[in-house]
């Protein structure tokens, strides 16, 4: 009895694994950042964003996963948004719920200055979260 693993399929399997990794890897990855969204009653599904701005629980500011300063945020956003037409300039704004106004208001101004379409990323208020 001779049992053999079909070695000729190894190349296909390796190629497929590579394809899966490339598809799932994001260029603008901010999944490592820790923040808790604020809640709201009504939310809507947002289309594909051009950029994401995050203020995490440590009050640090990130543009597309890279730490940045408020003073350079508008310029950095303008670079990402480029000459995209209105309606295609969505900027996701993810703010930790306990962030204070003195931190997030200048960021909102910077996004507005860069001409981005601001979208607050929030969590829908459910009866459980209301408690």
């Amino acid at each position: 009895m001779k049992c053999e693993v079909p070695s000729m399929a190894m190349g296909d399997i390796a190629f497929n694994l590579l394809v899966f990794f490339v598809i799932l890897a994001k260029a603008q990855d901010d999944s490592h950042l820790q923040w808790q969204p604020a809640t709201t009653a009504k939310i809507e599904i947002v289309g594909h964003p051009k950029a994401s701005v995050v203020i995490d629980r440590e009050n640090k500011l990130y543009l597309n996963g890279n730490e940045t300063a408020v003073s350079s945020l508008a310029a950095g956003l303008q670079e990402h948004l480029g000459n995209s037409p209105a309606g295609d300039r969505t900027v996701l704004f993810k703010v930790h719920k306990d962030t204070l106004a003195q931190r997030f208001e200048p960021v909102i101004e910077a996004i507005s200055e860069a001409g981005g379409d601001l979208v607050h990323v929030l969590e829908e208020k459910t009866p459980e979260t209301k408690k």
């Binding site: 497929n16 306990d98 003195q102 200048p106 601001l118």
Partner: protein
């Protein structure tokens, strides 16, 4: 003369189907691993000019926020009465420029309070604009 048959039992999975299996796996992955869309709330904030029309500004509704209080044109309200009060004030205004609501937040206003109150303003038909205090350094001789 007897010949011994050499029976070789070769157990091999059908490698011909491997390509099809790989193709199906790609399709399943593409269908299932779609990027989950984000949920949120859009907000359009008019750009503020440094030279504002003071007369126009004095006509706009002003909402002041602190950590625990919210007030309309200096009159404090509870969160329960705020939406109704704001709606009644905005209903009398027909022009779009009169529906602008100036939001002034104290430095220690948390984001979730800000989101809640601005949500009420938008539901009432107001257009939010932010007013911040600027610090300027003036050098005197």
């Amino acid at each position: 003369m007897k010949f011994r048959r050499q029976t070789k039992l070769l157990a091999e999975p059908p490698s011909v189907a491997t390509g099809d299996i790989a193709f199906n796996l790609i399709v399943f992955f593409l269908v299932c691993a779609s990027v989950a869309p984000e949920n949120g709330r859009k907000q359009s904030i008019p750009k503020s000019d440094s030279k504002t029309d003071q007369q126009q500004q004095s006509k706009n509704i002003e909402v002041s926020l602190t950590r625990a209080t919210v007030s309309i044109n200096g009159n404090p309200h509870s969160e329960k009465t705020f939406p109704q009060q704001l709606r009644s004030q905005l209903s009398t205004r027909t022009r779009p420029e009169d529906k602008i609501v100036v939001v002034k937040s104290s430095k220690d206003t948390p984001y979730d309070v800000w989101i809640r109150v601005t949500g009420y303003i938008e539901e009432a038909g107001g257009v939010i604009t932010i007013q911040r205090e600027e610090e300027r350094t003036i050098v005197t001789d």
